[in-house]
Chain length 396, copies 2
């Protein structure tokens, strides 16, 4: 049977056709009025997309580049920082903070779990210069309580809160300014429905002030320099122009999802991811599968591999039978779970399709007798209920 290559990975995610077209046709030089107009419009729109009044920067790098920028710009060697980690991306914070010579205190939760706010409160001494955390941990599918964490960190005088929301932005409700998140970080290849290549962040006034006093080495990722250039309508270094064109198109699409309002469009995206996730969780449970995360994110559903089955076999069968790319576990969870993403450009047919495919994949990789239609039926019931609950949002 013909197989279309379809990404169900938590980034890169399926591309928005309008972004592909915009990207393919854009050819303007970056030091021109045309690019400047695009660039300035995108920076304004990104504030609305993120939901912040803080300055937003968009850099030519992956999300990890902006994670590095938040460490190198906000800390000096020897600074005490608190890293909250419950997965591979939490561990990336630890690696980054250590690379820049921070005195790193690590508060870990087991993979698949999230943090106890009491534990965080206990660890958060006044000398902690910054707290680093994920909004959603892509390696385990767990959602962390950013609002709760922000409340605790906000009670401190000199502690900045840095949130990696690379998979979180557009899949989970975040009130960046209301909660007082100092730096929030995103990447293009997630809910923005475009290819990898752009990282972005919104930076609070407190964080900008901190940068004046820190001494960690930075050059390409010097956010102050980038901010000065942005004020003049340009980037410090050569921008990824075609990706800016894609970003412009993606933001217009999201605005359309919100009936002309970008913030509402982002909420529509979040609600869409939540419905896809709820359908997928119901489908997986109907097949007797165990969900991995205790507080599951809408960004993705991590499903434990049935006993004795390497999840790599499941991932491989999805690929070989359907050309559908789902993600294996990462780090210590490799082989133990597989992950189906709901970030960005997914609809009903995608969600039902991958669940139906899962039924064949399980039948072919395990000894179980296929109960065809069981996962789909459970997901359909979630969808039908969402209609009667009037949770259904105007589509685009």
């Amino acid at each position: 049977m013909l197989r279309k290559n379809r990404l169900f990975t938590p980034g890169p995610t399926p591309l928005l056709p309008a972004a592909q077209t915009a990207m393919a046709s854009f050819t303007a030089h970056h030091r021109t009025a045309d690019f400047r107009a695009l660039f300035q419009r995108v920076l304004v729109d990104m504030k609305e997309f993120i939901g912040t009044k803080n300055d937003v920067l968009v850099l030519a790098c992956s999300g990890t580049g902006v994670m590095e920028a938040s460490v190198s710009n906000l800390t000096s060697p020897g600074d005490k920082v608190l890293v909250l980690t419950a997965g591979k991306f939490g561990e990336r914070w630890t690696g980054l903070a250590k690379a820049f010579g921070c005195n790193v205190d690590v508060l870990s939760a087991p993979y698949g779990e999230t943090f106890s706010l009491t534990d965080i409160r206990a660890r958060l001494t006044p000398d902690v210069r910054a707290v680093f955390v994920q909004a959603t941990e892509s390696s385990t599918g767990a959602r962390h309580d950013v609002e709760g964490i922000a409340k605790i960190v906000g009670a401190q005088q000199d502690t900045l809160l840095v949130v990696d929301a690379i998979t979180g932005l557009g899949t989970t409700h975040l009130d960046v300014d209301g909660w007082g998140v100092d730096v929030i970080i995103g990447g293009s290849q997630k809910a923005l429905m475009m290819p990898p290549g752009l990282g972005y962040c919104a930076v609070s006034e407190r964080a900008w002030q901190r940068m004046e006093k820190t001494s960690s080495p930075r050059y390409y990722f010097d956010l102050r320099k980038e901010r000065k250039s942005a004020a003049k309508g340009e980037t410090a270094y050569t921008p990824a122009t075609s990706l800016f064109a894609a970003l412009g198109a993606a933001l217009e699409f999201i605005r359309g999802m919100g009936n002309g309002n970008l913030a509402q469009g982002r909420e529509t995206l979040v609600n869409n991811a939540e419905l896809c996730a709820e359908m997928t969780r119901a489908g997986a449970k109907a097949l007797g599968l165990k969900l991995y995360a205790s507080s599951p994110a809408a960004a993705l559903t991590a499903i434990s591999s049935p006993d004795g089955i390497d999840s790599g076999k499941i991932v491989k069968e999805f690929r070989e039978a359907f050309d559908a790319v789902v993600a294996n576990g990462q780090g210590e969870m490799k082989g133990k779970l597989f992950r189906i993403a709901h970030i960005g450009y997914y609809d009903y047919l995608d969600t039902i399709g991958i669940l139906a495919a899962l039924e064949h994949v399980l039948a072919r990789t395990t000894a179980r007798t296929a109960d065809y239609g069981a996962a789909v039926k459970a997901a359909q019931e979630v969808y039908a209920r969402s209609l009667t609950e009037k949770r259904q949002l105007v589509g685009v």
Copy 2:
């Protein structure tokens, strides 16, 4: 929920991404070596795709344009022709033949049915100059027995057989040369997975000879002129260059489906359509729906609307709830059936998705209680059986 616009119509069909890209980037002038190379390669490849040694022409027009060309080039006013009609596209043959002054004998079968070969044999007197028929009747989803018809027509000295295979090519097995089809007609927006705008035909030596003696008026559609130009590597009039680029890319994709062999790729496409159709028929039956066509084509499945329900309501609900475009009945069947296509670029996830969507659509447009998963389960069983039967073909 986010809704992706998806065509399940029997043309236009979903676009192949590689064809979209090729089309968007092609800019060459048509009287250049670059275009000539593309044009000549496409004409050779089209022979292999159609499965013929006859000359193939590709024109800037819809399929109807090539239907007209076959009438205007092969008949003179007053010529007796036999039209076999069992639906809206059969009626188009009648309209065309009358427009060019033919003496038209019409053999009709009821909508949804096909012809009795005995009836055809009885009507086919030696003075019939041409027989016009569809391979598959898109308005009803019926498949006609082209092989059987060709055998009867082939027994005559001076009767040409003209087959509209616009939805048939790439969805049903056809042996053009083996069966002796004089003119076979196709369109770009079908199994070739590209937009409308190109019509094509393969013309037998007998048919070329006929053209020397016919007197119906033709100019743009003068196939002899087009053939002479093609021999020099060009078209008589300005070709739709970007669509040729898309066609080149589509043919490469189909070659890939056949592991380097275009004819095998076409068979893979046909088998794919057959599996999609079989899944869809099983799904519809599982919901207690009635299939409309007695000899169903793999190109599309025509499903009778449940009693008392205007099929327009079903089509509208598909569109509004899922942005999925299925086709209403045409002509006298409008309001009485809906049609789901399987032509070209469809895979497992598409097929399962539209069946799952159908379950919601029926629940919302009829009084029936939804039996979620029933259609999907039946389709999954067909798919699973196809694997064990080794009917499963290498995908792409």
